[in-house]
């Protein structure tokens, strides 16, 4: 890529120089049939514009590629950070949670250095201290699920906030359901996006 980038404008430059004139003395001018100075200038400007355009196209293509990669990484990151929810008083992985967790697996496989922090949470109902343990159990359920797919457990650190960090601060079924969750944060490593990812 890099070499091509440099070589292409160089070639164009030689062509342009060649067109400007040779080493032979010019024949006597019968009449000014050759290109006028204005025409030459226009041609040069035209060539320069073409070169610039080509350079821009190259940069655009590269930026597009980078953007695509970065978008894929962002998507992978957000897939990894997608939280999962739980039923009341339960730490069992639901069908919905399983679908979310399964999407994380290819990313964790292609990014072997990535480590995740799994943070368990409970809704406000239930004992304060017991909810710390419940949050912990939820985080452990997630870790067990992921390690069942070959993700090394030591890449997955668990901790619990119990009922102390609600997402939604109100007391109704919808808020409670949102608050019963495991959150994911990337605590280290680099996300590598594989070609076949995106399924």
């Amino acid at each position: 890529m890099r070499i091509k980038d440099l070589a292409f404008p160089a070639l164009v430059m030689t062509f342009v120089l060649g067109a400007c004139g040779g080493s032979e003395p010019p024949p006597p001018p019968p009449a000014p049939t050759g290109p006028t100075q204005a025409e030459l200038d226009a041609a040069r400007a035209d060539s320069v514009a073409r070169v610039r355009a080509e350079e821009a196209r190259q940069r655009e293509a590269e930026r597009g590629e980078q953007e695509r990669l970065s978008a894929a990484r962002d998507e992978a990151r957000s897939t990894l950070e997608d939280m999962v929810n739980f039923d009341y008083d339960e730490s069992v992985i639901t069908g919905e949670a399983e679908a979310i967790l399964r999407r994380k697996i290819p990313i964790l496989r292609s990014s072997p250095t990535v480590r995740l922090r799994l943070e368990g949470h409970a809704d406000e109902r239930g004992s304060t201290e017991y909810n710390l343990a419940l949050g912990s159990r939820r985080a452990e359920s997630v870790r067990d699920f992921l390690s069942g797919f070959g993700i090394a457990a030591d890449r997955l650190m668990t901790t619990s906030f119990g009922e102390e960090r609600p997402l939604v601060n109100s007391s109704d079924e919808t808020s409670w359901a949102e608050n019963r969750r495991v959150e994911f944060s990337i605590s280290g490593g680099e996300i590598v996006v594989s070609e076949d990812d995106g399924s």
Binding site: T128, S136, R137
Partner: protein
């Protein structure tokens, strides 16, 4: 004689008013048996005990100590009222009863005990005051006990505690039982940013003090056996819950080393003061561990496995431990008791297969006879404060609350009162229930508080209440 009877009439009217005032805070005591936990009989039955009337003769202060004498009188009268053992008659104008103590008058008014006191300002700056208390037995017309107490100056942060120590001495004189006046309650409070810091409040609801400022989640305080230290769990620094110990006098903090992964939560001191027990969750091995603070050594696994053994509490002799656990394999925690070193555990909370309740947060009474905890009565119901007798393995439970939501009971050093977190229509606060009468008192209102822990008597660790009796 005529003057005495008219005096009695005025006094009676006055006393009825004062006593009526005291009953404003009393909850519903008349409720009878309630069958809210399937198959378990919960009682709200209280013996209608007779509480002797204790009158307080206006305290006198020499020179310029008059105002302080009245302040001390109020502190002591409230302590005696909160002890729930007397009908207290106080704030009586001196003009009504006169300087001299008239046993006949007090007898007519129905007083069984009379307390009089005087306060002398000490010449030396450091000493503060000398409080002299006289406890009169009205029935026999004699002085029952007399004592002198040294109090620091009113600016001293232990001034009120020194007065509380005198109140506890009165209870000792009358009943030979420990009081709870010389004690504090530690708890965490949620701030607007969602963090929690530790606070303490005196047993009479005064001296609301902030203990930590870590800007993180700091919770579950526990007092050392003589009250000179507290231990707690905090996420500060490491981002994981770890156990810390704070010396209340020096402010020196030490951290328990983290030898294994997981969250370190729910600490409790062993009554020997040398060890601390706590739960580890989410690590390679969950369960209850203990650690020796004195030798600064060794995490020893006591119990647990895939289930969560949580919130341990020791019997006062240190031989047993109660905790809550999911070891029955249901999502509903139950209360168990086992030997302090581990081993087989006995179920204490009521359990009917398929209709399990939810019981957590046990606290062993200082007398050793009872376990207090809270329980969810219906699957989506609210929590109530329950007390089980150790001797009958919890077959009979007493339910101490009925309204709102009630969690995390902790015994007072008098082995009679419990503090807990109560949530009502108006919000959350700390409440105190007298387990003998069922009376509920508001301690701290309108703060989002968690997991209170009542201290032991702080007499020894604060060095207050030094006393010289008459002989």
């Amino acid at each position: 004689m005529k003057s005495l009877s008219s005096k009695v009439g005025t006094m009676k009217a006055l006393l009825i008013m004062t006593m009526y005032g005291c009953f404003q805070e009393v909850g519903n005591l008349d409720a009878q048996v309630q069958d809210s936990i399937p198959g378990v009989t919960l009682g709200l039955l209280y013996e209608s005990e007779f509480y002797p009337a204790l009158a307080v003769h206006p305290f006198r202060g020499d020179r310029d100590a008059g105002e302080i004498a009245r302040e001390i009188e109020t502190i002591i009268a409230n302590d005696l009222r909160y002890s729930d053992r007397f009908e207290v008659m106080d704030s009586i104008p001196l003009g009504l009863v006169g300087e001299a103590i008239d046993y006949q008058l007090w007898d007519q008014l129905g007083a069984v005990w009379l307390l009089s006191g005087s306060v002398q300002r000490q010449a030396t700056q450091s000493v503060g005051f000398i409080l002299t208390l006289e406890l009169h037995d009205i029935v026999y017309g004699t002085i029952h006990e007399q004592g002198r107490f040294w109090l620091p100056s009113t600016e001293d942060r232990d001034f009120r505690m020194s007065v509380h120590a005198a109140s506890d001495q009165l209870l000792q004189w009358i009943y030979g039982e420990p009081g709870m006046a010389t004690s504090r309650i530690a708890f965490s409070r949620r701030s607007e940013d969602g963090n929690q810091e530790l606070y303490t409040i005196d047993s009479d609801g005064e001296n609301f003090r902030q203990i930590t400022s870590y800007g993180d989640l700091t919770m579950s305080p526990t007092w050392s056996p003589n009250g000179d230290k507290i231990a707690y769990t905090s996420r500060k620094g490491t981002g994981f819950p770890r156990i810390y110990e704070l010396d209340m006098k020096s402010g020196v903090e030490r951290a328990l080393p983290s030898e294994r992964q997981g969250d370190y939560i729910t600490p409790v001191y062993n009554p020997n003061g040398r060890e601390i027990a706590f739960s580890v969750t989410g690590g390679n091995r969950s369960g209850i561990f203990r650690y020796n603070w004195l030798r600064d050594c060794c995490l020893v696994h006591i119990s647990g496995g895939r289930w969560d053994d949580l919130s341990p509490t020791y019997s006062p002799d240190g031989k047993f431990m109660a905790f809550n656990s999911n070891r029955l394999g249901t999502p509903y925690p139950q209360i168990f008791v086992m030997a302090a070193g581990g081993g087989e555990a006995d179920l204490v909370s009521p359990y009917i297969h398929g209709r399990e309740g939810y019981y957590t947060s046990p606290d062993w009474s200082p007398s050793g006879d009872y376990l207090a905890f809270h329980g969810r009565v219906a699957r989506r119901g609210r929590y109530q404060i329950l007390v089980a007798q150790i001797a009958d393995s919890g077959r009979r439970l007493r339910q101490l609350t009925r309204e709102g939501n009630n969690e995390d009971p902790s015994w007072a050093p008098d082995a009679r009162h419990l503090v807990f977190v109560g949530t009502r229509d108006w919000g959350t606060g700390l409440m105190v229930v007298d387990t003998a009468s069922g009376k509920i008192r508001m301690l701290l209102r309108g703060f989002d508080v968690r997991v209170p822990e009542w201290s032991p008597s702080l007499k020894e660790s604060l060095g207050v209440g030094s006393l010289r009796t008459r002989q």
